[in-house]
C-alpha cells in the first residue's frame, strides 16, 4: 500500500546514476560537482537504513566538508592550467578493468544476498551492557564509540592529528610556521559576508546542540564538530576570519585536546575503574560528555585545517 518501496528504488537508481556520472564525466570539475551531489543523496540512503547518526556524519563530513575540499582542489588545479592532458587508456585495458570491476561488484552483490539468516548481531550485547559500561547513554552509537570501542575512537582522533601534520608537511620549508592560504577571493563579497554573519551564530548553536543531545539522541561529537568546522570555514570564506598560523599554540592545543583528554581518561580508568578505558558506572555519562567536549573542539579545529592545506608563503610578509 505504501509508496516507500518505489521511493527507495528511485533513490537507489538516482544514487547509482549520479555515481556513474561522477566516474564517467569528461572533465574534472563536473565530476567533482557530481560527487558532492552524490554525498548528499547518500545521506538519504542512510536515513532509510535507520542510521540517522551516520546520515548526519555523511551529510556533514562525507558531503559537506569533503565537497569543499574537492571543489577547492578542482578550482586550484583548473587555475594552474599546466596540467598536461593525460593519455587515455586503451580500449582493451578499459574492457579488462570493466570486467574486473563487474566481477567484483557481482560477487559482492551475490555474497550480500547470501548473508546468514537470522543475522548475527551485537545489539543484544549492547543492550545488556547499557547498564554498565554504557550507563546513562540513550544513544547506543555513542555508547559504542565512547565506551565499548572507545579505543578505536581515540586512535581515530590520532589519525586526524597525523593527517594535519601530513598535510602541513607537504608545504615548503620557507612557509613553515605560517598560515595556510586564505580560502577565497581577495576581496570579501557582501552576500558571502552576510551569510557568514547570519549563519555562523545559528550554526554554532546547532552544532553544540547536536553534540549535547548526542548522548541520548542521534548526534554527538563527530556531527556537532563537523558543523562547528563548517561554520569556521564559512567565516574564513567570507574573510571574516583568516586561517591561523600553524605554530599558534592555541591551535595546536585545540587539535590535540580531544585525543589527549581521551588518553588521560583511558589511563585514569585503570585507577578508578580497574581497567584502561573503563569508566566507573556511576560517572560514565559525565566523563564521556567531558571527553566528547574536547573531541568536539579537536574536530572543529582539525577539519578546517585539513581543508585549508599546508602553510603558504603568500600570506607571510
Amino acid at each position: 500500500m505504501s509508496l516507500l518501496p518505489y521511493l527507495d528504488i528511485g533513490l537507489a537508481l538516482l544514487v547509482v546514476v549520479v555515481a556513474v556520472w561522477t566516474i564517467a564525466a569528461r572533465d574534472l570539475f563536473t565530476s567533482v560537482v557530481g560527487y558532492v551531489a552524490y554525498g548528499l543523496l547518500l545521506a538519504f540512503v542512510w536515513i532509510r537504513l535507520y542510521a540517522p547518526d551516520v546520515a548526519l556524519t555523511e551529510a556533514a563530513v562525507g558531503g559537506g566538508v569533503t565537497g569543499v575540499l574537492l571543489i577547492t582542489a578542482g578550482k586550484r588545479l583548473g587555475a594552474l592550467k599546466n596540467v598536461a592532458p593525460e593519455a587515455q587508456p586503451g580500449l582493451a585495458f578499459r574492457l579488462l578493468t570493466g570486467v574486473l570491476a563487474a566481477l567484483v561488484a557481482g560477487a559482492l552483490g551475490a555474497v550480500i544476498l547470501m548473508l546468514p539468516d537470522p543475522p548475527p548481531s551485537l545489539a543484544p550485547e549492547a543492550a545488556a551492557a547499557a547498564d554498565g559500561a554504557g550507563a546513562g547513554l540513550g544513544n547506543p552509537i555513542t555508547a559504542v564509540l565512547m565506551s565499548y570501542r572507545s579505543f578505536d575512537t581515540m586512535l581515530e582522533k590520532m589519525v586526524l592529528i597525523l593527517a594535519v601534520v601530513g598535510v602541513w608537511s607537504v608545504g615548503t620549508d620557507k612557509a613553515w610556521g605560517g598560515a595556510p592560504a586564505p580560502f577565497r577571493r581577495p576581496k570579501p563579497y557582501a552576500p558571502m559576508v552576510f551569510l557568514a554573519q547570519m549563519l555562523a551564530p545559528v550554526g554554532v548553536l546547532i552544532g553544540i546542540h547536536i553534540f549535547w543531545t548526542g548522548a541520548n539522541a542521534p548526534g554527538g561529537a563527530f556531527q556537532g564538530g563537523a558543523l562547528l568546522a563548517a561554520m569556521w570555514m564559512v567565516t574564513m570564506m567570507a574573510r571574516l576570519a583568516e586561517p591561523p598560523r600553524i605554530d599558534a599554540q592555541w591551535l595546536r592545543l585545540a587539535l590535540v585536546a580531544g585525543p589527549a583528554v581521551f588518553l588521560i581518561a583511558g589511563l585514569a580508568g585503570e585507577v578508578v575503574a580497574g581497567s584502561f578505558f573503563a569508566y566507573p558506572p556511576a560517572l560514565a555519562k559525565p566523563i564521556i560528555l567531558f571527553i566528547e567536549a574536547f573531541m568536539l573542539l579537536s574536530i572543529a579545529a582539525a577539519l578546517p585545517m585539513l581543508v585549508a592545506g599546508p602553510p603558504s608563503e603568500r600570506v607571510d610578509q
Partner: protein, 95 residues
C-alpha cells in the same frame, strides 16, 4: 475524524507541493541559468514555507514547531546566498 487543523495542514502542504512542482517545471523549461535559478529559489522557498506551515499544527511541542520555522529560515538564507553567488559567477562568465 478530520479536524479543521488537519484540513489546514492538508491544504498548506498540497499548496507547498504545487509550488515545488512549479519550481521544478521552471528548472526544466526555462531557457538559461539565471531564469532557472529564479524559478527554483522563489518557488521552492514558498513551497517549503507552506509545507513547514502545514506541519506546525502537527508538531509535538512548541520546540519542534520552532525548529520547523528555523529550518525554513535557514533554507531561505542559504538559497538567497547561493543564488547570489551563482549569479555573480555567471555574470563574470566562465573562466
Amino acid at each position: 475524524m478530520i479536524t479543521l487543523l488537519d484540513l489546514f495542514s492538508i491544504a498548506a502542504i498540497s499548496a507547498g507541493a504545487f509550488f515545488f512542482f512549479a519550481g521544478t517545471v521552471g528548472l526544466l523549461r526555462f531557457p538559461d541559468a539565471l531564469t532557472r535559478m529564479h524559478a527554483l529559489a522563489k518557488a521552492d522557498n514558498v513551497g517549503l514555507g507552506l509545507v513547514a506551515l502545514g506541519l506546525i499544527p502537527r508538531a509535538e511541542s512548541a520546540l519542534s514547531a520552532l525548529k520547523l520555522i528555523v529550518i525554513w529560515a535557514l533554507v531561505l538564507l542559504s538559497a538567497a546566498s547561493t543564488t547570489q553567488l551563482i549569479g555573480r559567477a555567471l555574470r563574470r562568465g566562465p573562466k
